[in-house]
Structure formats: C-alpha cells, structure tokens
Amino acid sequence: MQVIKERIVIDYDLPESAIKIEPDTDLKEQLATLSEAPALIFDFSNYEEGRPYSQTRQLRTRFGFTGDIVALGARKDNVAMIERCGANIISAHEKYSADDLLPFFEEITDYYQPNY
C-alpha cells in the first residue's frame, strides 16, 4: 500500500505479523507480545476516537516501542497530530490518496509541545 513515511510517499508492505490494536486494548497487559511485533496497527478512521493518540504516544515513550507504528485512516486535518503522537507509517483515509495529505503537515509550523 501507499503510505507516508518521513513525509515522503512510499510503498509499504504490512508485515504479516503486524498486530492490530483496538482503542480499548490494554497495552500494558500485552506488552510482552506487542514489543516483539515488527509493526503495530492503529485505526484513526473514526474521527473522534482519541485513544489511539495516547496509545501510540505511550508506546513510543513509556513502553519504548521501536517498531513501526502504522496509522490507518488519516485525514488532512489530523495527519499532523497522528505523526506527532508517534506513528511513523501513515496511510490515508479511503477518500484521500497519500499525496493529498502531504501539504497538511505544515499548516501550523511551530508547536508549544517540544516533547512531541
């Protein structure tokens, strides 16, 4: 599939052993399994579902996950937040192509949260 990685559109094959994380998955409980996975998948297509933002952030910081964090369903107005919270592989919502999203990373160029 076409995804954005480091703000460049590339082809990406989802590793077979990638694990899909639900918004109510308790990361701490499954940490042993999850930290072995090459990629974890988060679905952002439900616009108002805010948990994946905290989950990805937690994985990157508190749980030190270094594999791919794959975000599905990104749109123009949340793609920058998704990236800032730790996803490194971003796939667009079905109504957009990955290219459509590229200009929207920089609508706001400077943030107040240096840690994100």
Binding site: Y47, E48, S54, N115
Partner: protein, 551 residues
C-alpha cells in the same frame, strides 16, 4: 498582561488560515458535515437554533483596551451590534455568517485574540480569578501559570479528541473566586510547611447533570512538575474516560467510577516517566520570564488616596461605591471597579458594540488600558485610582454601565436558555428580566444583600445553578416550562451543591416563590447574617414550608 511573541502571533495567524481552508473544503465537499462539525467546534464555532455562534477566547479573562475595541467592531460588522460575555470569561457572538468567520479570526489575530479550543472535546480556555495580580489575599499571581498552561494545551496533539470537554481553573488567592472545585482540573497555588509555593491539584469537579465537587489528587505539587502532572491526568482520562455515553464522559464520572485513590495510582504510573522529561519541566527561569509579562501596567503620575477625601453627595454614587468598588488593592491609592453587565432589561453578560468601545476608552483613561471579565459575567477595571472614582462613575453612567448591583440578587448568572440554545427546556432570559423587574428597588436589593442567584435552562447547567445560593433550573413537564429551585449552593471556598427545595414550580409562580424565600430570610436572619449563612443555619425546611404553603 501577556504580549505575544513572534511565534504566538504566527500560530494564531496560521490557525486562522487553516480555518479558512477548512471552511472552503467544507463548501467544496472535501470534508463532510460531521467532519466539519468536529473541526469548527475546535475553533469555537457552533451551529444553534437560528444561526452560528462563535465563541472567542479571553484567556483567564484578561483583555486590553484594543482588544475590547476590536470586539465592538466585530460585533457591529459581523453581528447584530452586541456580544455576550460568558461564565468562562469568553465572548460569544450569536449571529455570524459562516463565510465571515475566517475574516473575523483574521481581524482578531491582529490584536492577539483567537477562538482556539473554545468548544469541542478538547482542553478549553483556562479561567482564573478576575482579581488576579491585584488582590491582597494572593499567595501568587495565577496568570503566569494560566498562560504557561495555555501554551501547553494549545494544539496539544494527544488531547484534541478527548471523551468530552475539559476545563481548567487556577487561583492563587485564599478566597476562591475562580470556582476551582467545580472544574475538571482545579489548581490552587498554596504554600507548604517549608514556605515553598506549589499547587494543590483538584480533579473531577463539574456541574452538568451529575454535579460533583472536585477531589484533591495531589496536596502539594512542585511547580516544576505542573505540566507533566496535568499531562498524566489527561492521558489517563483520554484512555479510560467513557466514550459510549456523552453524559457519562466527563472526567468526574471516571474519577468517581475508579475512586480517587485508584485514579491517582494510574496518574502516578504515567507520571513516573513524564516527570523525568526535562522538556516538561517548568524551571524558575521560565516562571520569572512569564511573571515579568504580568507586572502591573505602567502607572500614570500623581496618585491620591482615600475615597472619603472626595466630597460627593449623590446617593447613586454612594451605592455604586459600596457595591461596585473593591477597595482593597495591592497598589496604594488604587481600587478595582466592577462594571455590571446586568442592567435592567438587558440579558446578563450582554454588551453592545458602543458599550465595548466606550469601555475601551474608559479603560485607557482610568485603568491602565486593562479590563477583566468575571465568571459572573461582569467586567472589572483593575487599576482605577481612588481619586478618579467619581469621574469614572460619571463616565460609566453615560453608557449605562454603572448599575450598582454587583453581588446582589440582580447580579445573576443566567445561561442563554430557550431563546438561543437548542438544548434548553425552558426560557431563562425573560425570567431574569422578570426577576429584575420585581426586585428593581435598590434599597430592597441592598437590604437583601449579597446573594448569588444562578439559573440554567436545562440540566447541562451552563448557568451554574447547582452552585447558586439560590439555583434555578428549567425543566420540561409535558411541554410546559417549570423551574426547580435549590438553596445553599456555592462556588467559593465553601463549595457546595444546592439542595432541592421541593417540586418544581410553574413559570408564573417563580417570582412569587423567590419573594417568599427572601421574606423568610429577612424575617429570620440574625444581625448581619447573609442569605447563605441563614440557609446554612436554618436548613431548607422553613423556606420549603412557606413556598409550598403559599402556592
């Protein structure tokens, strides 16, 4: 007050441009109705019964004269010539056209004002004490911390899609004028036994359908950790707050369900790591730099002192002095003056464009160009020389801004109700007018004394009825408007939930019921006892007996 740097200015300009893009993409169908709703809400734009409503942020209620003048201009140019100051110290305009909103935001940005995060399920405008920085009972000025937290919360990528809205209030004074116990997070600057100043952190307070008074989650938090600590609270809430039912989605429900101790454990588990992140530390340098932004604005020369020294014989002026002027002030020869936005016949909190412009001029002349918005929907001129009070009063009078009713029954908090709000069960503004009309005798009002009347048009409690000494809640009974009365609520240090007096009363009976309640108080009060003190001493029984006996 805080002056934007280049970066702050750029952010709000970029946000205005971003919103213009969002409106355009909505028009071309690139984003659908639901998506646009989520986006416009995060920029303060509602769609209500008749039209759009735009909520403009006034961070912790501090406004300068230029900004106030701009509000007047915006209300005249893009709206119907008036605006509404809210209990969150913000300004709402009720009739802007969607197409105009990007231009409104661009104009506001020229005076360092925005509408960022004034609605939607995100961190909202942070409120504070309207006497911050000038009150004599202050441990520390809360505004620098409000501004630091405003920065921290603005465009926070993790907390833009919370289960529900999230409100902070901060106070630095002994007397709580910011209702910190009624907020999702309440912060109180306190001194510990070693004389260090830090924060007492409260969590899970809130009004609405399930009114709850906030609980202490941390008795004393070092200032250094304020950002990491609130970030931890928000993360636990974002992950665990309920999303299946919007009436159970506020943090107060989560805290109650988990219990404060378990909730604290979860927060501390997050915090363990976050507190080690130096980018989240609040260092003394940063505090000092921020404090420098809140030094008293420049003094103008020659300060004369006491009010008694000025011989003015005017009963109305005397009334105004006793009601609308706060004479204790950290600066010698100065006082704080309240501008009542509760004049007879006006909706509480409303001001016209002309009034806003007049207030801007007056603030420049009499108050070092600064104005504050109170959560009781009035304004404050924080730097008035006592020697100039009479001149100020004359000036305010010209614009109908000298109504001497601060703290009285007529100084009520009232939500927009059925006239403007699609969620309402009942009207509030016409009732506020009816109450004002019944109690229009100033001597009677002053005899009744300090009393907080708060009225909401539905259970969502935007009018804070739970925290009113007298609370009034509009309820719908088979299509008819009824009103539930509560007594004994408070939003101050003695924060309490009002107790139900009994069954709801009909619209036509409400003013009569108030009359009865106040008569019971006047009959039974001891010496200087205030209404609230009487209710606390007597309980609600004697009031109940009379109200329901006479109906």
């Amino acid at each position: 007050m805080y002056q934007y740097n280049k970066h702050d200015q750029q952010s709000i300009e970029q946000r205005a441009a971003q919103f213009r893009g969002q409106v355009e993409r909505f028009k071309t169908g690139d984003i659908d109705e639901d998506e646009f709703r989520a986006l416009r809400l995060r920029n303060g734009l509602y769609y209500q019964i008749h039209a759009h409503m735009l909520r403009i942020a006034i961070p912790y209620g501090v406004v300068n004269a230029n900004q106030m003048r701009m509000f007047g201009h915006i209300c005249r140019t893009y709206d119907k010539g008036y605006g509404h100051f809210t209990t969150r110290q913000n300004l709402q305009i009720n009739w802007p056209e969607l197409e105009d909103v990007p231009s409104i935001l661009e104009e506001l940005a020229t005076v360092q004002v925005h509408a960022i995060q004034t609605s939607g399920n995100c961190i909202r405008n942070i409120t504070s004490d309207h006497l911050a920085g000038i009150a004599t009972d202050e441990i520390e000025d809360p505004r620098p911390y409000c501004e630091i937290l405003r920065h921290w919360s603005t465009f926070h990528p993790e907390f833009n899609w919370l289960p529900r809205k999230f409100k902070f209030a901060v106070t630095g004074a002994i007397e709580d004028r910011a209702a910190v116990q009624w907020h999702d997070i309440g912060l109180r600057l306190v001194k510990n036994d070693d004389g260090e100043v830090g924060f007492q952190v409260l969590v899970g307070g809130g009004m609405g359908r399930t009114p709850v008074i906030g609980k202490v989650i941390c008795e004393f938090l070092e200032k250094r950790y304020i950002k990491s600590y609130v970030e931890s609270i928000l993360r636990v809430y974002n992950l665990h707050g309920r999303r299946d039912n919007k009436y159970k989605a506020r943090i107060k429900i989560l805290v109650n369900a988990m219990g404060i101790d378990t909730f604290r454990q979860e927060v501390e588990a997050e915090w363990e790591l976050l507190k080690q992140d130096p980018s989240l530390w609040l260092e003394q340098e940063e505090i000092d730099a921020m404090k420098a932004q809140f030094e008293h604005p420049d003094e103008s020369p020659k300060v004369s002192s006491s009010i008694e020294g000025i011989a003015v014989k005017d009963n109305n002026y005397d009334l105004w002095l006793s009601r609308n002027v706060e004479q204790t002030h950290v600066l010698d020869g100065y006082c704080a003056t309240f501008i009542s936005l509760k004049a007879q016949g006006e909706a509480p909190g409303d001001a016209t464009s002309e009034q806003m412009e007049a207030i801007a001029d007056i603030a420049e002349k009499f108050s070092r160009s600064e104005i504050r918005v109170t959560h009781e929907q009035n304004l404050v001129l924080p730097y008035v020389k006592t020697s100039e009070l009479y001149a100020l009063w004359m000036e305010l009078n010209k614009h109908e801004l000298a109504t001497p009713n601060i703290g009285t029954l007529n100084d009520m908090i009232c939500c927009p109700g059925l006239d403007f709000c699609s969620l309402a069960n009942a009207t509030t503004i016409p009732l506020a007018a009816a109450i004002n009309e019944r109690f229009n005798d100033l001597d009677e009002l002053h005899n009744i004394g300090n009393i907080k009347l708060k009225m909401s048009g539905c259970m969502n409690a935007c009018g804070h009825h739970h925290a009113g000494h007298i609370g009034i809640l509009g309820v719908d009974k088979k299509g008819k408007e009824w009103y539930q009365i509560t007594l004994g609520g408070s939003a101050e240090n003695d924060s309490a939930l009002g107790k139900r007096l009994g069954p709801a009363v009909k619209k036509e009976e409400l003013v009569g019921a108030l009359d009865t309640i106040l008569n019971v108080y006047l009959e039974k009060r001891q010496q200087d006892e205030s209404f609230q003190e009487s209710v606390n001493r007597l309980g609600i029984e004697p009031f109940k007996e009379q109200v329901y006996a006479s109906h």
